[in-house]
C-alpha cells in the first residue's frame, strides 16, 4: 500500500523539477528491486508545490533566525500538501531546513524529512567518517549539517571564506541565473580544493543547485561527491511505499 507524499519546491524551481525526476527514478528502482512491473499505476501519488519563497540565505544573513520571511509561504504550501493527503514531505532546498523544526511542529500529523539527518545516516551506513560540505552561507550559519553529522559520528570539514564566496557566486549568478558554465567553474574549483586539503573525503553537495551545476562535469572526475537531493528523494520513496522512518540507513520496507 502506497502513501501520498509531497515535495516542497520552488527553491529554486529547477531543483524542484529535478527532485521529482530523482524521486520517480527512486520509485522505479524500488519496484524493480522487488520484481514488480514498472508501470504508471505502480507509482505512489505525489504532489509538487513550486511556490515563490523569499531568499533563504538572505533572510538568515540579515537577522539570524529572527528573519522569518521565508517561513510563511513554506508553512502555507506545507499546509496545502498536508490537505492533499501527504503523509511525508521532502523540502527540495537545503537552506530552507533552517526552519525545519517550526515546519514539523506546525504539522505533527505528517513527517517532514530532514535532509542533513538523512544524508548523515546514509554516509554513516556506508562507513564514511569524514565529510566536507559545500553549501550556502545560510546553511553554514545555522550549522545544519554539522549537528546532524556529529550526531551520526561524522567529522564535517567546511570550506574557507573565499571558497564559500565562490559557492554563493556559482549558486546565484550560475545555476539560479541559468549560467551553468560559471556554476561548474565555481563548484568544481571548491570541490577540488576540498579534496586536496582533506584527502579522499566525501564531498556533500549541500545545496540543491550544486548538483545541477556539476552534472556531467569532467572537472570533478574521481572525487567522491554525495548528492543530498538523491538521498532525500530515495528516503521519500521509502516513505511513499509505506516504509517507516529509516534514519539508520537500512531499508525497512
Amino acid at each position: 500500500m502506497t502513501q501520498v507524499v509531497g515535495i516542497l519546491g520552488g527553491m529554486g524551481p529547477a531543483a524542484g523539477a529535478d527532485f521529482v525526476r530523482l524521486f520517480v527514478d527512486a520509485c522505479a528502482e524500488h519496484l524493480r528491486a522487488r520484481g514488480q512491473p514498472v508501470r504508471d499505476q505502480g507509482f505512489p501519488e505525489h504532489w509538487l508545490a513550486q511556490v515563490p519563497v523569499p531568499d533563504r540565505s538572505g533572510a538568515l544573513e540579515s537577522a539570524a533566525l529572527g528573519a522569518h520571511q521565508p517561513l510563511e509561504p513554506m508553512l502555507q504550501a506545507l499546509g496545502r500538501l498536508a490537505a492533499l493527503g501527504s503523509r511525508a514531505v521532502a523540502i527540495a532546498c537545503n537552506t530552507a531546513h533552517a526552519w525545519h523544526a517550526t515546519l514539523q511542529e506546525r504539522f505533527p500529523q505528517i513527517e517532514v524529512l530532514h535532509v542533513a539527518r538523512e544524508v548523515s545516516a546514509h554516509l554513516a551506513a556506508e562507513g564514511v567518517r569524514d565529510a566536507a560540505l559545500m553549501a550556502t552561507e545560510g546553511t553554514y550559519r545555522v550549522g545544519l549539517y554539522e549537528q546532524a553529522m556529529a550526531d551520526a559520528g561524522l567529522s564535517c570539514h567546511l570550506p574557507l571564506a573565499d571558497e564559500r564566496r565562490l559557492l554563493m557566486h556559482g549558486i546565484y549568478e550560475g545555476v539560479k541565473a541559468g549560467d551553468m558554465r560559471l556554476a561548474e567553474a565555481c563548484f568544481s574549483q571548491v570541490a577540488r580544493q576540498l579534496a586536496d586539503r582533506h584527502g579522499a573525503v566525501a564531498i556533500v553537495m549541500g545545496c540543491t543547485e550544486i548538483p545541477l551545476g556539476l552534472k556531467d562535469s569532467a572537472a570533478v572526475a574521481g572525487l567522491r561527491l554525495v548528492d543530498p537531493t538523491q538521498v532525500l528523494a530515495s528516503a521519500l520513496a521509502v516513505r511513499a511505499y509505506g516504509g517507516a522512518r529509516n534514519l539508520a540507513g537500512s531499508s525497512s520496507v
Copy 2:
C-alpha cells in the same frame, strides 16, 4: 502579475517530471527575453499532481470512449489543482486528451490547455504544411491530432499498422518500464520510415514518453522532430505570466 498554473501528470510519472523541467526552462526563457533577472522569486507558482490513472490507451481500445475509468482520477486531480488556485492546467499526456472536452466542461473557471491544438497552431505559425504523427493507439483512435491539424490547415500522415505496434512496444516495454535502449530502437525506426515515405515532414512525437526515449539519439539526426511537451510547456508558461489564449502562435505577453 503571474497566475498560478497546474500540471496534471503521472501519465507516466517520468513524463510529468520532465514536463516541469520544460516548464521551468520556458519560464526562465520568458524572463530572459524580457531582460528580467532569472531568480527563484520571478517564477510563477505552479503545482504538479502525479496521480495514478488507469491506462488511457487500454481504456480507449477496450470500449471506445464509453470506457471512462481514467476520467474519474483525472477529474479529481483537476479539481484539486483548481482549488489550489490554478487558472490554467496542462495535461502531461497526449492520450489523456481524449477526455479533454469533459475535463474542460466540468471546470469552466480554468483553462485546460489542449496539446494537439497548441502544436497545430505552433506548426502552422512556423509555415509547416505536412506533419507525421507518432502516438499511442488511443491517440490515433480518437483522432486527437488529425482534427486539430485539419483545423489549422495541416496534412497529417499516420504510421502503418506494424509501425504503430512498434511505437506501443517502445512506449510500454521501453520508456514506461525503464528500458531506454529498446525505446530508442523502436521510435527511431518508425521516425526514419516516416521520413523516408513523406520527405522533409515535421514528425510530431505525440506521446510524452517518445521524447524521453529519443533524447540525445543519434539515430534520428537530421529529422525534423517536434516535441509537443515542449510546445505545451511553453504555452503554459505564457498563461502563467498572464498571457491570453494564444492559439494563433504569436506571443501575446
